[in-house]
């Protein structure tokens, strides 16, 4: 059954509600090459947002008071040469800046220039950036199996650096959120339950603190889809997502309050549509150069089979579950 048919059966009209968040992909270059990555990011990717496009995003933010959040993603967004400028300027505009930080980028040198990235925790602290970091499990085996050998140890070392400047400490107000995603073809656990387990285990094992744990469902796109196909699990996984369709989760999908910007300035309803090359459908050129907030609020969101990933169980978004329980 198609996703739009499922929405019709539940009498759901998922129209845009607002654009609170501008989520910008700064490029596909990454120091890691995770097995589940829907971006297909890695050290050999060359796609990168230009300074000109970043300045255009800043213009959009400056003239759009209703867009209160800038969500920076990649690849590893910090590897864009203009990342520091973007963060500083967006902060000056009073925007809440979020960075999708893979933790290891702080300790690995820049894969092209060799530049040290160890200044990042201090940069984040200076601009009070909200840090959201993937850590698929509190044990080494599961984390390294998804994100690469040695990633768990480096992630723990990097979390310590973030904790050392105040991240994760309730009193500091510096927000460090972690992201759990399943290490395979199954749905994530209930968010509050696994968050308790992560907090206990990371404290017990490493004396590490963080604020919230977001659970995110693996999307059947790019590398994770290839894994499903190789393991002959694609149909089983899609059936699992469809059977877990939750109308309450559908109501809260992130595409209703977000616009995603590709590294080349193309506009999308979400990061997943971006990777599937499905731009926004609003009757105008879908780029930052023709950005028209009013028209975007009138658009029809582009849906596909992958959208079942955001509506399964308790829902899944860049901010984790969209309902309290599935």
């Amino acid at each position: 059954m198609t996703f739009t048919t499922t929405l019709s059966e539940h009498r759901l009209m998922l129209t845009p509600l607002s654009v609170e968040t501008l989520q910008v992909n700064l490029g596909k270059l990454c120091n890691q090459a995770c097995k589940h990555c829907h971006v297909d990011a890695g050290p050999k990717r060359t796609e990168m947002m230009t300074r000109e496009a970043i300045e255009r995003c800043l213009e959009i933010l400056a003239r759009s008071p209703t867009i209160t959040k800038l969500d920076l993603t990649g690849g590893a967004p910090e590897l864009n040469d203009h990342f520091d400028f973007f963060v500083a300027e967006a902060t000056k505009l009073g925007k809440h800046v979020i960075v999708r930080h893979n933790l290891t980028v702080t300790l690995d040198a820049h894969p092209i220039s060799g530049k040290s990235m160890e200044y990042l925790p201090e940069l984040f602290r200076t601009h009070r950036v909200e840090v959201i970091s993937s850590l698929p499990y509190f044990q080494e085996r599961e984390t390294d199996s998804q994100r690469g050998a040695g990633v768990y140890a480096k992630s723990i070392a990097s979390l310590r650096l973030l904790n050392a400047v105040g991240y994760g400490d309730e009193a500091s107000g510096l927000i460090l959120n972690l992201v759990y995603n399943p290490v395979g073809a199954y749905l994530p656990p209930e968010q509050a339950a696994i968050e308790r387990q992560f907090k206990d285990e990371l404290w017990k094992r490493h004396r590490i603190v963080f604020n919230n744990l977001y659970v995110i469902t693996n999307m059947p796109i790019n590398r994770f889809r290839h894994f499903l196909e190789r393991a002959e699990l694609y149909d089983t996984y899609m059936t699992k997502l469809m059977n877990a369709f939750n109308p309450a989760a559908a109501e809260g999908v992130m595409c209703r309050s977000l616009i995603s910007v590709g590294y080349d300035g193309t506009l999308y309803d979400c990061d997943f549509n971006q990777m599937l090359h499905l731009p926004v459908n609003h009757g105008a050129p879908a780029t930052i150069w023709d950005f028209d907030l009013d028209m975007l609020l009138q658009r029809s969101i582009v849906f596909g089979e992958h959208c079942y990933g955001c509506t399964a169980g308790a829902g899944s978004s860049c901010g984790g579950a969209t309902v309290a329980k599935g």
Partner: protein
Amino acid sequence: MASYYESKDLAKFSDISKNQKHLWDKFLAWYNAATATEGALTKREKSLIGLAVAHTVQCPYCIDAYTNQCLESGANLDQMTEALHVTAAVRGGASLVHGVQCRNIVEKLTM
């Protein structure tokens, strides 16, 4: 019939409700209340118990379902393996403790 057990048959479990549905409804309500909710035990603990029992009754459908449920409640393979060792140990112990009966009989029969 090629095999008594086909993995696709697990999805047909609810076909049992096609007859005497009221009994199925009662079973399902009780089953979900017992296994799928957080209570005095967490859902993860219940999933590990379910996995252990699935291996005790050696039901392939249950092993499939509870392996998935363990992963989806955040359990890891170390925890699941420990649950299986508990199963095996209790089963082994149940055999061994009957050695007491053997010894009682030997004691009675022999001089």
